[in-house]
Amino acid sequence: MPELTYRDALRTTLVEEMDRDPAVLLMGEDIGLYQGTFRVTADLLDRYGPRRVIDTPISELGFIGAAIGMAMLGLRPIVEVMTWNFSLLALDQIVNNAAKLRYFSGGQAEAPLVIRGPNGAGVQLSAQHSQSLEATYGHFPGLVVAAPATPAEAKGLLRTAIRGKDPVILLENAALYGMKGDVPDGDFAIPFGKAEVVRQGEDATIVAYSRMLHVALASSERLANEGIDAEVINLRTLRPFDIETVAASVRRTHHAVVVQEQWKPFGTAAEIVASIYEQVFDDLDAPVERVTGADVPMPYARNLELLAVPHEEDIIRAVKKTLHRA
């Protein structure tokens, strides 16, 4: 099993799928000649030519809509959004066309496309370029929302997305592109709606995804030093979201903390917490805690930015609170 970066895991998967299926093509801003803002598509223009690696104008609405039209005709477009922030320009296409086509056509049409790119805060990108939009997209029936946290997941979830029949929102994370990890060879794929217990523990369940998984894992090591044995669950996909794995864990630990980078109101954690209450309320020994980003537009100043995103200390504090350990 080779070690790859998250970026190369994505790129390798694109290459494998493009070699496998001529219907797969790439679109996005500066993915070709420029080699991609985060170099996920580096060299692919040379390899596949301009018909399959399409440098688009700066027209998110236009090219995401066009990709939906291509998908309706049987192609498998993979659209790169330079960051998910820019996808808001295409929200109507994603929400009103991609998500709903199958339904309002009575099953006659479908839009199997993948939209991928970095989601969440970077480093000093300020208010317009630091948003986490998983709750936005997770709201709409017809969409799949996946958020790989590791190189292996980047490969496995991207492959499932490309081979699936539905529009997939693939939320990558800029801070993870350089992360290295073991990535299985070949046709490795990860099904949607299957969470993974990344660390087993007895005392409390920490639920996280994407970059926050790594913050949660680091927190759990520090908690272990204090004699607290936390279980860490990586959701991997948010829609569908694997409540069974989360509920099974909480039944054993009786305590839960849910971590997200985005704003607290109406966020992903709210949905997960509500689902925990619905499924295993009687198994809980304490209220479920949420660890979230600060409810502010992202500031530019580095010290303020650091205050706006969750850190290990925040998770440790939340776990101790739910365990009544000060």
Partner: protein, 345 residues
């Protein structure tokens, strides 16, 4: 085509089919189809008032020559997209009037199983890729679909019908610019057909478009374009034949603005039309595309009085049958609520 024996009917003029101009070949069939579409819309409006059709209802009356003219020239394996005023396109493309009416009635036998309604007619097997309810939102889809046709190395073409109102959306500009770019390489076999009925809901082109020559706006994106009359089926069809064969060959997009009229309000709820005068509506109805074609066919000796009556009677019967079918059809099963959201794994 009809039987020559028709000439023996009482009161019938001597018909002269052998000497009919080429432009009118099988035009009687399209005259009959346009009549069916007109009766269909009238009956749909009645059904709306009876509470049988819910939601929004946008009828096509007055604009029939546009869809009929283009679809008469569209090959069976070609495709098209349109907005929400979409009933006539389905009928012209050969969808069963029963299934179209049943969709409007929200029945399981509808074209989209009762899940889309008036605004979301689809008949993908016939190349009809929908009916869309967000103004301008289907333009990017059609543009990408056209790319896909060339990507698969076919000579199929895509038509994208839009209203004058759609031209002020961002989707218009983004899609049309990409079409212009892709077209340079012959990779966008697409015709944008602007049906300029002069009103986006109640706001006129005059009041909403800085440049009122809508065809000219495509020039900003290096797309060849022209304006023409949209009330004359024969003329629209000739134009469509020329442009479709050109686009099929070149793979370059083309835009046509067709000047037409919406005889009814924007939707069934737009009863009083305070934004335009009765005189204006009456004047528009003075050039009814169905009557224009009827006149041409009679002048050419291709249609007798008896055939006109028969065509009217047939249209009434076809539409009545469709209403009866829709009324008698079952509602969708409750379980249908949760199907067609995701693809089967």
């Amino acid at each position: 085509m009809r039987e020559p024996s028709r000439t023996r009917e009482r009161g019938a003029v001597q018909l002269n089919r052998e000497r009919a101009p080429a432009a009118l070949r099988d035009a009687v069939r399209w005259y009959r189809a346009m009549l069916v579409a007109r009766r269909f819309e009238e009956e749909a409006e009645r059904a709306f008032r009876r509470g049988k059709i819910g939601g929004y209802l946008h009828v096509y009356s007055g604009q029939e020559a546009v869809a009929a003219g283009w679809l008469a020239e569209l090959r069976a394996d070609d495709i098209f997209f349109t907005a929400y005023r979409d009933h006539a396109y389905a009928l012209f493309r050969g969808s069963s009037p029963d299934a179209v009416m049943a969709e409007l009635f929200g029945k399981a036998t509808g074209l989209a199983k009762g899940k889309g309604g008036s605004m979301h007619l689809f008949d993908v097997a016939r190349g009809f890729y929908g009916g869309y309810g967000i103004v301008g939102g289907h333009l990017p889809l059609a543009t990408g679909a056209a790319y896909a046709l060339r990507y698969r190395a076919t000579d199929r073409v895509c038509l994208c019908f839009l209203g004058d109102g759609a031209m002020n959306t961002g989707a218009f500009h983004e899609a049309v610019n990409m079409a212009g770019v892709w077209g340079r390489e012959g990779f966008c076999p697409l015709v944008y057909i602007v049906e300029n009925n002069q009103y986006g809901m109640g706001t006129s082109v005059e009041r909403s478009s800085a440049l009122t020559n809508l065809a000219a706006r495509f020039g900003a994106y290096a797309i060849d374009h022209e304006r023409a009359d949209g009330m004359d089926f024969v003329a629209v069809r000739a134009l469509a034949a020329r442009i479709i064969s050109q686009v099929r060959l070149s793979g370059r997009p083309y835009a046509v603005e067709l000047l037409t009229s919406r005889f009814a309000g924007h939707g069934a709820a737009d009863l009083f039309q305070p934004y335009r005068s009765k005189e204006e509506i009456a004047k528009a109805k003075g050039r009814d595309p169905v009557l224009v074609l009827e006149h041409q066919l009679r002048e050419a000796g291709l249609l007798s009085e008896a055939e006109v009556k028969r065509a009217h009677d047939d249209a009434v019967r076809i539409v009545q049958d469709a209403v009866q079918f829709a009324e008698a059809s079952p509602e969708p099963e409750p379980g249908a609520l949760f199907t067609d959201i995701y693809g089967a794994p």
